[in-house]
């Protein structure tokens, strides 16, 4: 049984669906939900996501039936049909995606009755039930992907050996998703592939529609988008692999080798790509040698966030930057099997560092784990402790950083204290951005 969550770092599945659809090109979400649900998630998908903005047709512009008591009692299907028809009339899009809130799901409105009426029309209308009690943001992402793969991606038995699809970097919930997708795509392009990321720069709905031609689906996560990959495989016979989200040299090496393996790329070629990336990476990374050693910038660290980021950050800190990330707090809703998989991603560090991995959704507990891991000062003269420490987490974790007097960088959701545009932390170049951001905090007062 699930429990309450203290200061949750995600909205509900409805919010996840809105967030995912909002950044899909030329796609218009239509909400069939109680009056407030759209507005309720709007700020969370904007100001808590590095000021991502309202998007093309979300925020206050998000079409919504604004269902109230009358429809709850008498049913809201008619109102939904009217709303879909008028949305198509008013809003310029190529795909209209109906999603639902809790109340509508609970009273048993069947959105597919309404959607059916638009079959064969000029506009494509699809839909899914996404009521918030189904889960958190990631669940909404999963449902939207599944629906797209099932109802929008066109069947195509012919496969294109040079084409792969990639997802698992969750838009908006990963505030740097767009930069990250670009960076990861660049790596795969270097391996000689064309890549659909659906949500990244320059992607089109057409690419998504034709994505069944891909030779492989790459899910850059062991937790997010995996169910959708299974659906894709069932419907379109495209196999998939899951690989951990990579940040930095060590993470990216593993990533590139895993992809090379799965695609049967010649090993020597993969190694050549890695060498080239490393050459550029270390030509910048070496610049901080002076400041790193002069000021002793090695730190103990805690990483707090989702299962994609925590493992990638910890590996980067331990193996690239040479820090001591002793504790990782993973804040996702995960079942036991998923927890085992996630735990496994914190193994095999080149540096030999081992991080304690805990699964906890409650923000207040982060401080308790830090105290448990590093001990609590009782004013004794000789004391090891979390010092010098650094916290990589969300805006919520500023409270504990402030309390402990340690510096902090906000990299996981919610991010309300930074503006994020095309920045990404993935791969080699992303890790340079991250290095800049982390060390800038440390030299920020100079």
């Amino acid at each position: 049984m699930s429990k309450f969550v203290e200061r949750p770092r995600y909205v509900c599945s409805l919010g996840g669906a809105v967030g995912t659809i909002k950044v899909l090109p030329r796609t218009v979400p239509i909400l069939h939900a109680a009056t407030g649900c759209g507005g309720n998630v709007a700020t969370a998908l904007n100001q808590a996501a590095g000021y991502m903005g309202s998007g093309y047709c979300a925020g206050q512009a998000l079409p919504s039936t604004n269902t109230s008591e009358r429809e709850i009692v008498f049913g809201g299907e008619e109102r939904l049909s009217e709303q879909i028809a008028n949305t198509i009339k008013l809003v310029d899009g190529d795909l209209y995606f109906v999603i639902t809130g809790c109340m509508v799901d609970m009273i048993g409105d069947n959105i597919h009755n309404s959607i059916k009426q638009f079959n064969g029309g000029k506009a494509r209308v699809i839909g899914a039930e996404t009521g918030g009690f189904r889960g958190n943001y990631y669940k909404g992402y999963e449902i939207v992907l599944k629906t797209l793969f099932q109802d929008f991606v066109e069947k195509n038995p012919a496969k294109d050996k040079g084409l792969v699809n990639l997802w698992g970097v969750v838009p908006i919930q990963d505030v740097f998703w767009k930069g990250n997708l670009t960076l990861i795509k660049d790596l795969l392009v270097k391996l000689g592939y064309r890549v659909n990321t659906f949500f990244g720069e320059g992607e089109t709905l057409e690419d998504l529609q034709n994505s069944a031609a891909a030779a492989l689906n790459i899910v850059v996560s062991d937790t997010f988008g995996v169910e959708a990959a299974q659906v894709f495989e069932e419907v379109h016979s495209v196999p998939y692999i899951t690989v951990p989200f990579p940040i930095g040299d060590h993470g990216s090496q593993r990533f590139l080798r895993a992809i090379g393996n799965a695609l049967g790329i010649e090993k020597a070629f993969v190694e050549k790509v890695i060498k080239e990336e490393q050459a550029r990476y270390y030509s910048y990374f070496e610049r901080i040698a002076d400041v790193y050693s002069d000021l002793d910038l090695q730190r103990y660290a805690v990483v707090v966030g989702d299962s994609n980021y925590t493992q990638a950050l910890a590996r980067f800190l331990a193996d690239d930057l040479g820090w001591l990330p002793g504790l990782a707090v993973v804040t996702d809703f995960l079942d036991d099997e998923q927890k085992d998989t996630v735990r496994g991603q914190f193994n095999g560090y080149e540096s030999g560092i081992e991080a304690e991995v805990v699964f906890d959704t409650d923000a207040s507990n982060v401080g308790k784990y830090i105290a448990r891991h590093w001990g609590q000062s009782r004013g004794q003269r000789y004391f090891e402790g979390f010092n010098p420490g650094f916290i990589l987490g969300s805006a919520i974790d500023r409270d504990i950083a402030e309390k402990l007097g340690v510096p902090q960088l906000t990299v996981t959701y919610p991010i309300s204290n930074r503006v994020v545009l095309d920045r990404g932390y993935a791969g080699y170049s992303g890790a340079l951005r991250l290095t800049e951001d982390i060390l800038s905090v440390l030299v920020g007062n100079r």
Binding site: R7, P8, V11, C12, A34, V41, Q60, Q83, G132
Partner: protein
């Protein structure tokens, strides 16, 4: 008014007959409203808005030393994730030791939807009390538990015996009303039932110190509660306090950023002064019927005319009109001198406004007094309080009768159509929907902001000064309009902006 014995407050559609969808001239809406034939119309196309739960948080996330429990699936109250830093900063302005925002979501899932969510709420309340030892635990009820029949009031009654914090239930289920402002009633309802006057029955001391008693009575006779709104700045608040102090009044500020204990003896006041009827009518009416505290609810101190009215109304109550008039004369004289260069710059510039009825009507007056022309207004909803203020505006500025008025919460598609038609020099809008105007190439001045002054005499100067700054360089919006487009099809801009408003009942 007496709804306090009920567990839940009535909705504003019923209590105030508020209107949610309208398009026409100021003169039209005024006539229809006066005749009582302004109905709660609907739209055949609508865009998302908040619910009373989301707006309740506007007050609740300011209350110090409390924990908010949102009893709902994981998404309701989601905007809190963006508010934590902001709320903490502003709480600290009132109390440097304030903790900031602490909240819990009960995370109702598919199992709870069938089996009920009371146990999760119970564990959340007990956890909040144990973990934080707060003064108040605020429980916000949402749609799902209302539909599955959770009895949060009985549970709270039971738990109140076990926990140290006051538990404040707030019934703000979103689906019940489309008028978000019902939120304020929901919040005040909870506060009135659980925080106001709770320690009343303390035994009287055996010997009553008559002198002390007299002093206390005198103090109360000079105490006013000023009811603030979370959309105003701390310095706005301080500015108003200063004005009232110059009339020798003690000022108590409620409800935003207050400590839960501050409500306890809030009935020990000579007068309740609202600065926004949309916000406070439910509270002041109940304070009057339950504790006999009279109130002033007429207007918000925005612009010279309305600040004067606001101050004079209060002064009149205390028989200090003359003193107030003197104060006003000297304040206005000094202000007018300071405004001269800005008036020159702003003269003839056009504006369109959007936001809550009270703010937009009074801000329209302010802009007019700076020499600007108001082309139109968009109000979230419209009720008798808007009617009164609009009446005064049209009496003072006859040409405002012709101005267009559109009622709707959000609904930026109507805004886009209106702005492309009227092409104002500036859009003065409620935060949340302003980016759309910017993308149309129209510079934006936010209707309010927690970091800026808008109220009283200083507020007039500050608005004039900042508005002038806004208009000195409009390159940002000029760039946007060249490279970004809004989602609406081109033919929408040629259509009647109110084409999707459906008259609910035949007139």
């Amino acid at each position: 008014m007496d709804y306090i014995k009920e567990k839940t407050p009535p909705i504003r559609e019923e209590r105030l007959g508020a209107c949610m969808a309208f398009g026409g001239s100021c003169c039209d809406i005024s006539n229809q409203s006066k005749k009582g034939c302004l109905f709660n119309n609907n739209r055949t196309f609508s865009q998302s808005q908040g619910c009373q739960l989301t707006l309740s948080l506007a007050i609740l996330n300011t209350i110090r030393d409390s924990v908010i429990i949102v009893h709902s699936p994981i998404g309701c109250g989601a905007n809190l994730v963006a508010q934590a830093g902001v709320s903490k900063g502003y709480q600290k302005l009132r109390d440097p030791n304030a903790f900031g925002l602490r909240w819990i979501n009960t995370n109702l899932d598919e199992v709870d939807v069938i089996n009920g969510g009371e146990e999760k709420l119970r564990s959340a309340i007990l956890y909040a009390d144990r973990e934080y030892r707060p003064s108040a635990i605020i429980v916000m009820n949402s749609c799902v538990p209302a539909l599955i029949g959770d009895d949060i009031d009985t549970l709270i009654e039971e738990l109140q015996q076990q926990v140290a914090a006051r538990i404040v239930p707030v019934h703000c289920e979103g689906f019940k009303t489309r008028i978000q402002a019902t939120a304020y009633d929901a919040v005040y309802h909870g506060i009135l039932r659980t925080l106001v006057g709770i320690e009343e029955e303390e035994a009287d001391p055996v010997i009553i110190d008559e002198l002390e008693e007299l002093k206390k009575r005198y103090r109360i006779s000079r105490t006013v509660n000023v009811l603030n709104v979370s959309s105003m700045s701390r310095s706005d608040e301080q500015g108003l306090v200063k004005l009232l102090q110059s009339l020798d009044l003690n000022v108590r500020i409620l409800p935003c950023y207050a400590h839960p204990d501050d409500f306890e003896d809030s009935f020990e006041a000579a007068l309740n002064v609202s600065i926004c009827a949309t916000h406070d009518d439910y509270f002041v009416e109940h304070m009057k019927s339950k504790y006999g505290v009279p109130f002033i609810l007429r207007t918000i101190p925005i612009g010279i005319a309305n600040t004067n009215k606001w101050l004079l109304d209060i002064a009149r109550f205390f028989g200090m009109e003359e003193q107030a008039q003197k104060l006003i004369d000297s304040e206005v004289r000094e202000l007018n001198q300071a405004l001269a260069p800005y008036r020159q710059f702003l003269q003839g510039k056009t504006a369109f406004l959007g936001g809550g009825e009270i703010r937009i009507i009074t801000t329209a007056e302010l802009l007019h007094s700076l020499g600007m022309e108001v082309l139109g207004l968009r109000g979230f909803h419209f009720d008798r309080y808007g009617e009164g203020l609009l009446e005064e505006l049209m009496a003072e500025i006859p040409e405002s009768e012709k101005a267009i008025i559109n009622i709707g919460t959000g609904q930026p598609f109507e805004q886009a159509n209106l702005l492309s038609r009227y092409k104002p020099d500036v859009f003065v809008g409620h935060p949340g929907g302003n980016g759309w105007a910017n993308k149309q190439g129209i510079p934006v001045f936010p209707l309010f902001g927690q970091a800026y002054d808008y109220m009283g005499y200083v507020g007039v100067y500050e608005v004039a000064r900042r508005l002038t700054r806004t208009l000195k360089n409009t390159s940002y919006s000029q760039n946007l309009v060249k490279h970004v487009r809004l989602p609406y099809r081109q033919d929408w801009y040629a259509e009647d902006p109110f084409a999707y408003i459906k008259q609910d009942l035949a007139l």
